[in-house]
């Protein structure tokens, strides 16, 4: 079974990398990109029976830094 964890900077935390990407898109002529937030996607290959609570615990203990990041878990 698989789980996908999406880690993003929390709303309100400035994202200088996302801002640089937004600027570069404007330079390429893409108009109307009003904001870019950059995060990461972590795919986990899990033994059968691993629960969403287990994956949440992984997020809390390692995968996300909850001081600045939020995370979302999708099972399957």
């Amino acid at each position: 079974m698989k789980a996908t964890v999406t880690v993003m900077l929390k709303q309100g935390v400035l994202d200088p990398q996302g801002e640089a990407v937004r600027h570069a898109l404007g330079t390429l002529g893409f108009e109307g990109v009003e904001g870019v937030r950059q995060g990461k996607v972590i795919e986990l290959d899990l033994a059968e029976g691993t629960s969403e609570a287990d994956v949440t615990s992984m997020c809390e203990k390692l995968l996300a830094n909850t001081v600045i990041e939020s995370y979302r878990v999708e099972m399957g």
Binding site: V13, P16, A20, L63, V67, I68
Partner: protein
């Protein structure tokens, strides 16, 4: 006096930190990240700069979960002194021994240059050889030194006098120009600039030597 300097895979200031402790009169034990116990009789633990585990996931995130860090956390929680410099500061934040986080520099560039710091708190074992309000120059060398915390945490750090150093000119976007912070008991210091790279006249600047001198004086007295 004994200092333990931890080496993680990718640490690159561990030797410099050991030399700085030795120059101030410490006997230094070099400790590997997979060790599970600090040597007995250690007075201070140093977490060095570098790129532990290639900065994978987040700077310091994997090092913070290394086997030795449980022992380092227990040492700090029982009143031991810990000095985390650059990547070592990132490890201290990821371990939760200090509050906040370090993000990518606001200008997105790796910065490697001397910076002027203002000493904010000279009332700690690390800073007692400096005078509050004075300026000192340490080198910086980092890509992720943009100190971030929520407003309540920043207010608390300032209110409790736990900001040890501020940048005179903010190089990286750090909240409230913060370059280094102390724990509640003033015995854990994390900072981005490198005092251990400023101890020898051969390299042009000796402003960092006072930190190791201060540690030597206060830990010998303790």
């Amino acid at each position: 006096m004994r200092a333990a300097v931890v080496t993680f895979p990718g640490s690159n200031c561990d030797r410099d930190l050991a030399v700085a402790f030795e120059a101030a009169g410490f006997a230094v034990d070099r400790v590997w990240h997979k060790d599970t116990e600090l040597p007995s009789g250690v007075d201070i633990v140093g977490l060095p700069g570098g790129f532990s585990h290639g900065d994978y996931l987040r700077c310091g995130a994997i090092a913070a979960r290394a086997p030795i860090m449980k022992s380092v956390a227990e040492f700090a929680q029982s009143g031991g002194h810990v000095l985390g410099i650059c990547n070592g500061f990132q490890v201290l934040l990821e371990t939760g021994l200090l509050p906040g986080a370090l993000m990518r520099n606001a200008g997105l560039k790796f910065l490697c240059k001397p910076v002027t710091l203002k000493v904010e708190n000279a009332d700690s074992a690390f800073t007692s050889e400096y005078a509050a309000g004075n300026e000192t120059i340490f080198p910086i060398a980092h890509h992720d030194g943009n100190f971030t915390a929520d407003a309540a945490t920043l207010d608390q750090l300032e209110g409790e006098g736990r900001v040890a150093f501020r940048y005179a000119e903010n190089p990286n976007g750090s909240a409230r120009d913060i370059a280094g912070i102390l724990s509640e008991n003033r015995r854990v210091l994390g900072l981005m600039p490198h005092p251990e790279r400023a101890i020898d006249p051969v390299t042009g600047n000796t402003d960092g030597a006072a930190m190791f001198k201060a540690l030597s004086a206060s830990l010998v007295a303790a």
